[in-house]
Symmetry: C2
Subunit: 199 residues, 2 copies
């Protein structure tokens, strides 16, 4: 088993991260200004710039921050049963974003800027590598335990992430929260069909 992929280390100011979260949800990415973040922070733009030189630098730190939060959520999953663990992982990835739907909109905007913003591209790549590593590990564990058939775990993890990313895009572009449910069902069908022994 290979080590988990490296991730950018940063020690963000939690209050600024919270302010960024609220500002992104309210204003979206394209129109976001440091002033709006400072307003949510309750301090001056100079106070924000003391920590981050540019908006892009701040938003890159924000991407690190939400990935860390996601990683913590995953680590709190306590079961070691591979089948159950894979289910819970997919639940986390395809959670109905009712309470953070506005953030999904801002995140798709930032995703679409990855070809132009190297710091964003780097974070999205690291995020994807990390989650695929988690999926691959649980699939490999399931193969070792004899509950999954001996598939190409790397491909299966990428296929599941394709379903996850499709759902995230569709939820925003088509303004359709059912896209998450459809994807959760498709992911189950995929796991049943590709990973389980014919029964």
């Amino acid at each position: 088993m290979s080590d988990p992929p490296e991730r950018s280390a940063s020690d963000p100011d939690e209050e600024i991260m919270g302010a960024t979260y609220r500002a992104l949800r309210e204003h979206g990415y394209a129109d976001l200004t440091i002033k709006q973040i400072a307003d949510e922070y309750g301090k001056s733009t100079a106070a924000v710039h003391y920590h981050y030189d540019t908006k892009e630098e701040l938003l890159a730190a924000f991407l690190d921050f939400i990935l860390d939060q996601f990683v913590q959520t995953i680590h709190e999953v306590e079961t070691t049963n591979p089948e159950r663990r894979l289910e819970l992982l997919l639940d986390q990835l395809l959670l109905a974003p009712e309470d953070h739907y506005d953030l999904s909109i801002a995140l798709l905007e930032m995703r679409s800027q990855a070809p132009y913003e190297a710091a964003f591209a780097e974070r999205f790549r690291q995020n994807d590598e990390y989650v695929r590593y988690m999926l691959r590990t649980v699939i490999d564990d399931g193969i070792g335990a004899g509950v999954f058939v001996d598939v190409d775990a790397e491909h299966a993890a990428s296929a599941l992430m394709t379903i996850v990313d499709g759902a995230r895009t569709r939820a925003v572009v088509l303004d359709d929260l059912d896209a998450l449910e459809t994807a959760r069902r498709a992911a189950d069908e995929y796991v049943d069909a590709v990973l389980r022994e014919d029964t």
Copy 2:
């Protein structure tokens, strides 16, 4: 069988559409100006504005234009064998975009603006409805012909479009053209597992 969904009718100027295509590929969406499109068109901005009042109106017509092109490509598929037709449809949807990768970047930017641009949202919704209708129809034909099992064709079509949209997003965000191949393989696995009789 229901009728195909309605699509926006427009009679775009082919030369302006070609100019828009080239300008989008070169400059992306966020920085695109009417001036850049006019330069590609070889005429003045006034000549562009004679046809389209705003950049958004022009780009909405452009989305109609590329959907029409896609629909024509699909109609040129001559086989009526449902299994083969579904394969060809998935090939079209997950074509390696080497020759129009830059357009994929601009399209993801436009997708991410759907929550803010009603005209874009409308086109992406119509596009998605139309393609899902095509997928559903061929799946229903296959069920009728006894080559596919009696599945929920509506859900299967949505699941396949989730894989397609995931691949399109991943190709751009992760700068990874293999994402299309991975998705093509995942779509085949899904079709094999969910639509075919156990053999």
